[in-house]
Symmetry: C3
Subunit: 132 residues, 3 copies
C-alpha cells in the first residue's frame, strides 16, 4: 500500500464519507426520535439510513476494485476515478436526503466511475494472467 | 496485490456478484413498485434485498480473509477457495430468490469455503508470529 | 500484507467478531421464530440484527483505515489500536443485546480507536504525498 499514496488518500476520503453518513443516521435517530433498534417510523430518518447503507454498498464494490486498479493500472488514475466516484456519492447523499427522487445523477456518476475501473482492472488482471 | 493475480481476478468476480445482487434490488424496486426509502411491502422485493445484504455480509468476512490467505498461504489455493465460495453464493442467491427455504445448500458451501481459509490463514499468520 | 503479521492477526479477529454477530442473527431467527426474509417482529431478534449490521458498518470504516495505518505508521501500533477497537465492539455487542440503552460505552471505544488511527493515517499519508 506504500506504493499507492494517492489511492491511500482517496480511500481515507471515501472512509470519511461512510463515517459521515453513519454519523448522520445517529443524529437523525435523536432528531426524529427513532429509538434503537427500530429503523423505520420517520421518513427523514429512513432516508438517512438508506443513504448510509447505500454508501456502504457502493464502497464495498468500489474500494476493492479501486485498489486492484491502482495495483494493475496506476495510482494516479485510481485517485482520479476515486475522486469522481466520491463526488458522485456526496451528491447522491445530499440529494437523497432532500428528495429521494433526485438521487439518480449522483448514483450514475458513482456507478460509471465503478464501471470504468472495474472493466479496466479486469482487463489488466486478465492481461497479467494470460500474458498478452 | 501484484503478486496475487489469481486472487485479484477472483476478487473482481466476487465484486461482480455483489454488483449483480445490488442491480437486482434496483430492478425489483421498479418491478414491484417499492418506492425508496421503503424496503418492505413486497415479498419478492424483500428477498432480493436480503440476498444483496447477505451477499455483502459474506463478502465482508470472506474478502479480507481471502487476501490474508493468499499472502500467508498461496495465490492458487486462494483462487480455488474463492471460486468455490463464489459458486456457493451464486447458488444461494438464485435459490433464495425462488424460495427462501432452499437457500441452505449455497449458504453452507460459502460458509465452508470461508471456514477453511479462515482457519488456515489464522494458522499461517500465527506461525509467522510465533515462528514455529 | 506479509510485512504486517500483527495487523493480519488482528484483522482475522475482527472478521471473527463479524462472523460471530452474523451467527447470532441466524440463531435468533430460529429462537424467536422470525422467518426469512423478515427482519422485524421480535425485539431480541431486531437487536441481534442491528448488532450485526452496526458491527459491519464499523468494520467497513475501521479495516481499510487500519491497514493504511499499518502501512504508513507501523504494524505494532496498528495491532494495539485494532485490539482496543475490537474490545470496544465486543462490549458494544454484548451490552446492546442485553439493553440497547447501554451500548454507548463500547460504541465510544470503537469510535475513538477509529478516530485516532484515521487522523494519524491521514497525517502520515499526507506527509508522504507532500513530503514534509
Amino acid at each position: 500500500m506504500h506504493d499507492y499514496p494517492l489511492t491511500a488518500g482517496t480511500t481515507l476520503l471515501i472512509v470519511l464519507l461512510m463515517f459521515g453518513t453513519a454519523w448522520n443516521v445517529g443524529r437523525a435517530r435523536e432528531k426524529y426520535g427513532v429509538k434503537a433498534p427500530a429503523t423505520t417510523g420517520n421518513e427523514y430518518f429512513e432516508r438517512a439510513y438508506r443513504i448510509q447503507l447505500n454508501t456502504m454498498e457502493w464502497a464495498m464494490v468500489f474500494l476493492p476494485t479501486l485498489w486492484l486498479f491502482a495495483a494493475y493500472v496506476n495510482d494516479r488514475y485510481a485517485m482520479l476515478a476515486g475522486l469522481i466516484g466520491l463526488a458522485g456519492r456526496v451528491l447522491y447523499a445530499v440529494s437523497y436526503q432532500r428528495d429521494p427522487a433526485t438521487r439518480g445523477t449522483g448514483f450514475m456518476i458513482g456507478m460509471i466511475a465503478f464501471g470504468i475501473i472495474g472493466l479496466w482492472a479486469g482487463f489488466a488482471v486478465l492481461r497479467t494472467l494470460v500474458g498478452f
